[in-house]
């Protein structure tokens, strides 16, 4: 994977994880989980906009917004009882926030495998994060094509 495809914030997040021992990586993921932003008021009553990520065994829903300046914002909602999934969503929501559509589409699909969580969390669970990224990109393509 070429680093040129990784936006600065996502690259920072990766460095932060890789600098830690396995056990501490789980703690950092937990911090991300606690930081998953609440949905903005304007989306709170619009479950229809949100797409369920079925690859995650827990109910997680995402909605990708493109603002007037072509900036991407990922909104996600997942229950408190699913901290790992919340952590994955939070990493992407923070790491992608404000990027241009083309920058998000250029993010390497294997970014989730590269942040040093495969061993701490298990490869199977990381697939949930890959699915979040893939669905985010698909929503962007659909929206741009529309």
């Amino acid at each position: 994977m070429s680093d040129t495809e990784i936006p600065a914030r996502l690259a920072e997040i990766r460095e932060d994880f890789l600098a830690l021992e396995q056990r501490d990586r789980l703690q950092l993921l937990l911090e991300f989980s606690n930081e998953l932003p609440e949905l903005p008021e304007r989306y709170k009553d619009h479950p229809d906009l949100f797409e369920r990520v079925i690859e995650c065994q827990t109910p997680v829903y995402i909605f990708v917004e493109i603002d007037a300046d072509n900036g991407v914002h990922l909104y996600a909602t997942a229950p408190r009882e699913s901290p790992t999934t919340r952590g994955f969503a939070s990493i992407l929501a923070q790491g992608l926030d404000g990027l241009a559509v083309d920058e998000v589409l250029a993010v390497a699909d294997d970014y989730p495998q590269s942040i040093g969580l495969t061993e701490a969390v298990s490869p199977l669970r990381i697939r949930g994060m890959s699915a979040l990224l893939a669905r985010t990109k698909r929503q962007l393509r659909e929206r741009r094509g529309a």
């Binding site: 079925i54 827990t58 009882e81 901290p83 999934t85 699915a131």
Partner: protein, 300 residues
């Protein structure tokens, strides 16, 4: 050193009441010598957000699966995991977890592969404990590691491999996945990644009994009477049946394995942990698509 049993009336109706404890029972015995409380969740971080005081965590994926061979951990590794959690061969192990004890039942099943004698589930699991306002802490548990002996893993009595399923045709199979997975509808949704299997459907002749039907809304197991109605009257199991249960990768079906073995008293129940991820991809094995079980092929 075994801790006393929970004498609750509800449990006494089950075939093996010694396999369950109630939240009341556990609350009164926290800290009892010889008792180790284990949390096992689907979510690898849930324990860190708060757990029963003194409980240790065993993760189904990072602790119980072999990282290289697609299999459960071997004898040495299990002895290492158990010992590092402060579990001795004669410890009373009480396992609890999220989602109706889904993963807790799986951990219990793996402990059974190694013949750990006194292993029980907390009826209602994590959800009931929290719903009742019982204590939860994020304080790390201090563990004194113990020596756990290296015990040969004995798969045959409770684990079925693909070949065992092929030889089992004519005997009852229980598919514990959702109705959509059973019929095959779920893996064929357009434009979505599938469940990791090439084909959707079920093993011929398998009855569909989604695993969570065995759980009440408060995450406890349903009563003996209710379970008899589901598995005997409805799914047609009769005493003396040898049953194989399966799901997608073998965890939901270990919950059903627990119900059939310990609550209803069926002997020789096996969990086919290869489950649909193996069967749905395997060469030259029959499947059935749709909501009917289909006829059992000749055993081979």
């Amino acid at each position: 050193m075994s801790v006393d049993l929970d004498p609750s009336d509800k449990f006494s109706a089950y075939a093996h009441p010694e396999r369950l404890v109630s939240t009341d029972w556990l609350q009164q015995r926290l800290g009892t010598p010889g008792l180790v409380v284990v949390e096992s969740d689907e979510d690898v971080l849930l324990y860190e957000t708060g757990h029963i005081p003194g409980a240790v965590k065993i993760d189904w994926h990072t602790d119980l699966n072999d990282p290289v061979q697609r299999d459960f951990i071997g004898s040495e590794a299990f002895a290492g995991v158990a010992g590092s959690k402060g579990i001795a061969r004669d410890s009373t192990v009480v396992i609890y977890g999220d989602k109706n004890n889904w993963w807790a039942a799986y951990a219990l099943w793996v402990f059974t592969l190694f013949g750990h004698e006194d292993v029980r589930l907390l009826d209602g699991g994590r959800d009931k404990w929290i719903a009742e306002g019982l204590p939860i802490t994020t304080d790390p548990t201090t563990v004194t590691p113990l020596e756990y002996p290296v015990i040969p893993r004995n798969d045959a009595p409770i684990r079925a491999l693909k070949e065992d399923v092929l030889a089992h045709f004519g005997n009852p199979l229980i598919d514990v996945r959702s109705p959509e997975e059973y019929s095959g509808a779920r893996s064929s949704m357009p434009a979505y990644p599938d469940e990791g299997a090439l084909r959707g459907g079920h093993i011929p002749s398998a009855a569909s009994v989604p695993w969570a039907r065995a759980a009440a809304p408060d995450a406890t197991f349903r009563s003996r009477e209710e379970l008899d109605a589901i598995y005997k009257d409805e799914a047609g199991l009769t005493e003396g049946d040898k049953v194989i249960a399966y799901c997608r990768v073998g965890e939901r079906s270990s919950h059903t394995w627990f119900v059939l073995t310990h609550l209803l008293g069926f002997e020789g129940v096996r969990n086919y942990d290869g489950s649909w991820v193996e069967w749905g991809n395997a060469v030259r094995v029959p499947i059935v698509v749709g909501s009917e079980p289909g006829a059992a092929p000749a055993p081979r």
